[in-house]
């Protein structure tokens, strides 16, 4: 039963249906989208549960697309992406639930939303590098348009351009890296398993790896707002409509990290040797620097944006430590942060809808005003500062262990400080300013989350808690795949003979 195919195609179908519904039938449009995303989430849940941790690739859909280039439409799930797909589908559903704040050009919005969801799920589901990239772009374009048309704030144009250019640039760098991989493995195929096999037999020459890895690292890094290429993120998310921010910050952003784990590390391990140290330091910069920046923010969205940039640091650190624990932790945090970011942006969207500003200095006492949303926000913030019981903690502490054992002691120390203390600082300040204290001025007519939105929040929180209490659910799936990758990546495992390629 190839669930993945349906998981990826359902949103597209919904998009087409939305396309033919007349624009004034808002109820129908919303209904279709909601139904489709719900179904997608359900399917992904089934797929997640019926996934066999040591069954290799599953739910495969494989069609040749361009045989002369070895391009295939190749969907498959393994331990790494099954969790992410599940998370993505759930976040997508939540995002659709929270999309109520869009009031004009509803039809176009929902069409793009469906397209974006399709792209996101496709990117993570496809095992063919070309489609991996293709779907990502497919998801990016709607993102840009949505921010441009339905965005908020006065500098949304600048934000739109900035995010567009940044992400395109990153994607293109990565594309060159990917092509490099294709060319250099000589596997004459873009499908990841084939490439892995090829690399296992004959690793890419060192000189080539020295080019490929940095290309992938910075290309993907830009997509994940690796310091100092991060400034697009807070700005873009600040300007994006709720659903878009939820989807991009939650899921689409993880594309780059996924690519690093999936392609960069196993394909160019030797190239990685020199760069992992750099990556670790940049990750630290993410954690510490962006954490400090977040402390200064007065606007809730900017705070969340910066904090989510900071959280990327954990994942980079996990990848940089390049051992089973670290990579597993990285995937763990990817999933956890996906849920968390979606939740946080959903909440900020709700607040923004109540009262057209997110200036925290003018808020306060909202826990009384809106107990549901308030509690959700409280828990989100707690999860954000890495409280046990939420999935984030499991991943973060795992990464600490990994980084320490990988020899990044200094970095780990500072990272732990930024995570525990600085992270706690801005999250608690936010709680203090938004939820606690006397009620802020002119918040009287604010109302609590509507059932639909509340369901979304509840769902995300529930997932966070479930994976927080039982991270094993994820790790036992992730572990096997990660071990494969690490086996490929470890220098003693894959040290290619030093060959200089000669041009013919």
């Amino acid at each position: 039963m190839d669930y993945l195919f349906f998981i990826v195609m359902l949103p597209l179908l919904a998009g087409l249906v939305v396309g033919v519904i007349p624009g004034d039938r808002i109820g129908a449009i919303r209904g279709v989208t909601l139904g489709a995303s719900w179904l997608t989430a359900l399917l992904s849940l089934i797929a997640f549960c019926s996934f066999d941790p040591n069954g290799g690739l599953q739910f495969v859909t494989e069609w040749t697309w361009v045989e002369s280039l070895g391009l295939k439409f190749y969907l498959a799930a393994d331990g790494i992406n099954i969790g992410i797909i599940f998370m993505g589908a759930v976040v997508a559903f939540a995002a659709v639930c929270c999309a109520g704040d869009v009031t004009h050009r509803i039809k176009e919005f929902y069409f793009l939303l469906n397209l974006m969801i399709c792209g996101i799920l496709g990117a993570f589901a496809s095992m063919d590098l070309f489609f991996f990239y293709f779907f990502h772009e497919l998801a990016l374009v709607p993102t840009f348009i949505m921010i441009g048309v339905w965005g908020r704030g006065q500098n949304r144009n600048y934000a739109t351009y900035k995010i567009t250019l940044y992400l395109s640039f990153g994607a293109l760098l990565a594309l060159i890296g990917l092509i490099g991989v294709y060319v250099q493995t000589g596997a004459e195929s873009f499908s990841i398993p084939d490439l892995m096999k090829a690399v296992e037999e004959k690793p890419i020459t060192e000189s080539a790896q020295q080019w490929i890895f940095p290309l992938l690292m910075f290309g993907f890094g830009i997509l994940v707002s690796l310091w100092p290429f991060h400034t697009w993120a807070p700005l873009g998310y600040g300007a994006a409509p709720t659903a878009t921010a939820m989807l991009h910050a939650g899921v689409l952003k993880k594309f780059g990290l996924y690519g690093l784990i999936r392609v960069a590390i196993p394909m160019a391990p030797v190239g990685a040797q020199g760069w992992l140290e750099v990556m670790a330091w940049l990750a630290l910069a993410n954690l510490l620097f962006c954490g400090l920046v977040a402390v200064r923010q007065k606007d809730l969205n900017l705070l969340i944006g910066n904090s989510s940039v900071a959280h990327m640091g954990f994942i980079f650190l996990g990848i940089a430590s390049l051992n089973v624990i670290g990579l597993t932790g990285a995937v763990l945090v990817m999933i956890a942060h996906g849920l968390l970011a979606a939740l946080a942006f959903g909440l900020s969207g709700h607040l923004y809808q109540q009262h057209r500003s997110l200036d925290m200095t003018r808020m306060g006492g909202l826990l009384r005003k809106m107990p549901l949303a308030g509690t959700a926000l409280l828990m989100a913030m707690m999860a954000g500062c890495g409280l046990p019981g939420f999935a984030n903690f499991a991943g973060e502490i795992t990464i600490f262990f990994a980084a320490w054992s990988a020899g990044f002691q200094t970095i780990t120390v500072i990272a732990a400080w930024s995570a525990l203390v600085i992270g706690g600082l801005y999250m608690l300040r936010a709680i203090r300013n938004i939820l606690h204290g006397p009620q802020g001025d002119d918040w009287d007519n604010a109302s609590d989350a509507k059932p639909l939105v509340a369901t979304a929040f509840g769902l995300l929180l529930a997932m966070l808690l479930v994976f927080g209490f039982a991270p094993n659910l994820l790790t036992k799936r992730i572990n096997g795949e990660v071990e494969k990758i690490v086996r490929l990546a470890k220098p003693e495992g894959a040290a290619p003979e030093k060959v200089e390629v000669v041009r013919r």
């Binding site: 400034t231 962006c290 400090l292 920046v293 597993t328 320490w404 732990a416 203390v421």
Partner: protein, 605 residues
Amino acid sequence: MELAAWLIFLLPLISAVTIGIGAFRSKPISAGISIAAVVGSFILTFVMVANGSEFPDGQGPSPKVSWLRLDGLSVDIGLKIDGLSKLMLCVVTGVGSLIHIFSLGYMKEDRDFSRYFAFLSLFIFSMLGIVLADNFVMMFIFWELVGVSSYLLIGFWFDKPSAADAAKKAFMTNRVGDFGFLLGILMVWAAFGSVSFDVLEKEKATVLCGLAGFLIFCGAIGKSAQAPLHVWLPDAMEGPTPVSALIHAATMVAAGVYMLCRVFFLIEGTWAMEAIAWIGGITSLMAALMAVQQDDIKRILAYSTLSQLGYMVMVVGLGGETNSDYYKITNVAGTDAAMFHLTTHAFFKAMLFLGAGSVIYACHHEQDIWKMGGLRRRMPRTYWTFLIGTLALCGVPLFSGFFSKEAILTVAYKESMPLFLIAVAVAVLTTFYMTRLFLVAFCGEPRSKHAEHAKESPVVMTLPLLILAVPSVVAGYFNMHAPDPLILFASLIAVVFGALLANSIYRNATDDPLPVRLGFIARAMKARFWFDEIYQWFIDKVQERLAKLADIIDRWIIAGLLVRGAHGSTEFAGRVLRLAQTGNLQTYAFWFAAGLAAVLVFALS
């Protein structure tokens, strides 16, 4: 028995969840659930202790739940049940139950009654987690959870800015401690490849460098509010009084000491020991001094808690000789004395707090002792119980506090003379400020109409007091040892001296004469040696400026100079290049020729 163990652990969680999910709509139901849960845990604990079921080391009550399993790092959720944890269980569930009941009355009018009980249950759950944890990571998990539940309870009245701030402060201070704790755990894991207490103990793992030990102790510094991270505890009194009694007197603050005893085998014999001992000693002395000049009844108790905790930490640090058949709780003099004092202290300090709560309740939430007085006749039950508590705390013979404090002094005397002297001094001061509190608050004439109209609290509140009075008196006997005459003498002198001094100063005093007599010293005491001011300065001047710097760099250098710069320069380049398009075809012809020439040069050279 295994099921029982798990039930003890899980009942409070269940209650918290049920209240959270739905029961919160009805006050009585949620209170009922919560109390039932904690009492249930208490009874089960009692049963378990009664039929003395020890779980052989290595396997606690199965099934062990695997929380995280990776090669090299596997974390289980497993229970460790031995003498130590059993004793702690008794304290936590016992005191916990009574305080739940007390709260029933104290929080009666509060609109968030149900939320309060949910939080209490959550706290108990987390606390039990620490007590039962059989590995470092699990302990850290619940360590954090305890922190957050205390955050929630301190900030229970979150509309009150002071409460919200106090909660934030408490959490952050703890976080600083936990930072060290986490690093310590990392080091231990890196050194021995496991986080399970049993494994580590079997390997007789002793951390070679004291650093790891000290880092782990940092956790205790945070939780048990040792100097210099003690600042949060007094502010934590913003929370409801029962909470102060439960968390900030009896259980949570004791967690640090408990943890030290639990992992004593790791720190044993490293320089961390001295560090611990001295930090403990200094804390106890400092806190005692601060307590002398406080006027808020709860804060006085808070500082006394600090100094008592200092005692415990100090004695753990001192270690002392090991003699397994002589000591009942652990087989090391220091930890044994610490746990002993922890237990007795939990009872009488909780009782003191509840007494204070009852007083405050009666005086319509008046907390300044100088606005009380003459409560003796108005609320006799509270008066008598409070008296017992005071005597116990001062260490008057035959009261529980006497035995435990005497145990501590014994160890101190054997191990380190300077610390012994400090301990005695602290004993004097303790008697002094407690007498002061007692005289001012209960004796003499009422100094406010609140105090005049005060009347005895309802039975639901006084009952726990009476119940607690029993162990406060007798808890000392279960672990008493023949006292060393010299120590006995010293402590007696201390008590008498302190009491007389306070009596001479404060009998029928209407306001505090000390500031006049001592001047600067008194001001320093009152100002708690300006710790908060120093920290505030640090936060404003260093932390905030750092953040500001980062923000500026982010906004102006990266986003401004680099990004906008790149954008601008590209645009500019475009505008410049365009100038080649003059529109005049001869220029174009010239470009053509020139370009070709350039190409020729480039290609043929």
